[in-house]
Symmetry: C2
Subunit: 115 residues, 2 copies
DNA sequence: GGGAAGTGCAACACTGAGGTTGCACTTCCG
DNA sequence: CGGAAGTGCAACCTCAGTGTTGCACTTCCC
């Protein structure tokens, strides 16, 4: 068990569509890298790299089964991350409420920076 | 309010150290891009780009205050993401438990794919 | 008015993430 | 044995993300 990945590292591991495709499959049934490559529109080597990232993040387990290696999605790290994010989100909002309750200056114009 | 970002998109927005630096600051006090640039070791333009990403993900709010734009960290989206991740994590683990309880074959060798 | 502070826009550079292909090696099994 | 299936390793390519600099424009305020 290597050092627990940092928060940005965990999120980065989850910040890729292909990796979610893999995780979704592995959440339904355990599969090998080759089996995943047959199902997903990427090469086996690409899948292996993603599995390495996911393994490093503690999101999948690898289990050798004779000639192949079977992977499975692991929920515990995801739950741990969820708890941490929830805690942080609550902290932000409580601070915001505290500021608003004592400042509450009018005439504020909201800006939409989204394209 | 644009379309809600997908799960990988949300995670990708949170998968960068500099953005967490920004969010941490904005979670403590509202600041402008220039103010953040004075505090963090990156240029203002880099900060602006990050703020665009964060705004797109609904993680910060922008409020024009005269000549400057003040940003604040917003927890609601983070909480929503946390709930979704928690739900998914639980689903994975229940499936794993179900499989293990009826397969339970011995002689399994665990492989460590981490470097 | 005019300078200081803040933002907006554009062009550019660099690195790393994601993906591919090719080949060698191990393992299963007819 | 020998082929099929699976994995391991390495070189390579491409592009988007992160960051920079420079300049024009708006806003505040002495």
């Amino acid at each position: 068990m290597t050092a627990t990945p940092t928060l940005p590292e965990m999120c980065a591991a989850l910040g890729d569509q292909t990796r979610w495709d893999i995780l979704t499959r592995l959440g339904q049934e355990t599969m090998s890298a080759s089996a995943l490559a047959r199902v997903l529109p990427v090469s086996r080597q690409a899948i292996v790299k993603h599995l390495d990232v996911l393994s490093e993040a503690g999101l999948v387990t690898a289990e050798r089964r004779g000639r192949e290696i079977v992977y499975a999605a692991l929920g515990s790290r995801l739950n741990a991350l969820a708890h941490e994010l929830d805690r942080i989100g609550n902290a932000w909002d409580t601070r915001l409420r505290a500021l608003k309750s004592l400042a509450e200056s009018p005439g504020e114009e909201h800006v939409d920076r989204r394209s």
